[in-house]
Symmetry: C2
Subunit: 100 residues, 2 copies
DNA sequence: ACTACATATCGATAAATACCGATATTTGCA
DNA sequence: TGCAAATATCGGTATTTATCGATATGTAGT
C-alpha cells in the first residue's frame, strides 16, 4: 500500500456514518434484516438496507458506497437489481499494517 | 476506541503530508538530522525539522502537529523552546484493531 | 412494452478543511 | 532587559467535501 492509497482510505473513514457502515458490515446478520431475495450475507448487505439504517438520503449513501468501493474498502456484487456491499478484509488489513 | 475518536484520527490521516509525517516519525534517525541540543530521538523530532521536510508553511505544519496530538496520534514533549513530536504507538495500535 | 423498484449520477448550495502571511507567545541567551 | 529563535494562534481566502433533490439508468416482473 502506498501513501496515496492510504490517504484515500482515510478520507472514506473520516466521517461518522461511513465509519459506522464499516462496523455494521463487520456483523451483517447482527445489524441488518435478512434480504428478500437472498438468505445469506456472503456478498454483504443490500444498499437499500444500509441507506435505511443510515438515515441519510439515498443519493448520499449511494455516493458513500461507490467511493468506499473505489478506494478498496468495500466490495460490490450485483444480484439482479440489487447491489450488495461487503468489507474488503484484505485491504483493511493492509491499511492497518501500513499504519503500524 | 469509539467511533468519534476513530473518525478524528482518520481526519488527521486523510492528507498526504500528515500521513507522511506519521511515516517519517516511524524512523526518525532515518528521516531527520540529529538535533542541535539532544542527541537521541526518545521524544521524537523537533517541529522545525518536520516543517522543513514538509515544504509547507510553519503555521500549517504547526497546526497539523497540534491536531495530530489532539486526536492522540502524536505525543508532544517540550524541551526548552523546542517541541518534539513522536508517534503514539498505543493509539495507532488501538485504531488499527478498531478497524479490523 | 410498461411499470415499479433499486441504484447511480448530476447540479446546486452549504459547510468544512487547507493553507498562507501576519502576529502573538514562549523561552533562552547576550 | 532586550533580542532572536521556535512554536502557536489568528484572520482571511481558496478549495474540497457534504448533502440534498431531481433525474437517469438498469433490471425484473406483469
Amino acid at each position: 500500500m502506498d501513501v496515496k492509497e492510504a490517504v484515500e482510505i482515510s478520507k472514506c473513514l473520516s466521517n461518522q456514518t461511513r465509519m459506522q457502515i464499516m462496523e455494521w458490515l463487520r456483523e451483517p446478520e447482527k445489524n441488518f434484516p435478512p434480504h428478500i431475495s437472498i438468505d445469506h450475507f456472503d456478498d454483504g448487505v443490500c444498499a437499500t438496507y444500509i441507506h435505511e439504517k443510515s438515515k441519510l438520503s439515498q443519493s448520499t449513501v449511494s455516493n458513500y458506497l461507490t467511493n468506499m468501493e473505489k478506494c478498496g474498502l468495500l466490495v460490490m456484487t450485483k444480484h439482479g437489481k440489487w447491489s450488495y456491499y461487503k468489507r474488503n478484509e484484505a485491504i483493511i488489513t493492509d491499511f492497518a499494517k501500513y499504519l503500524l
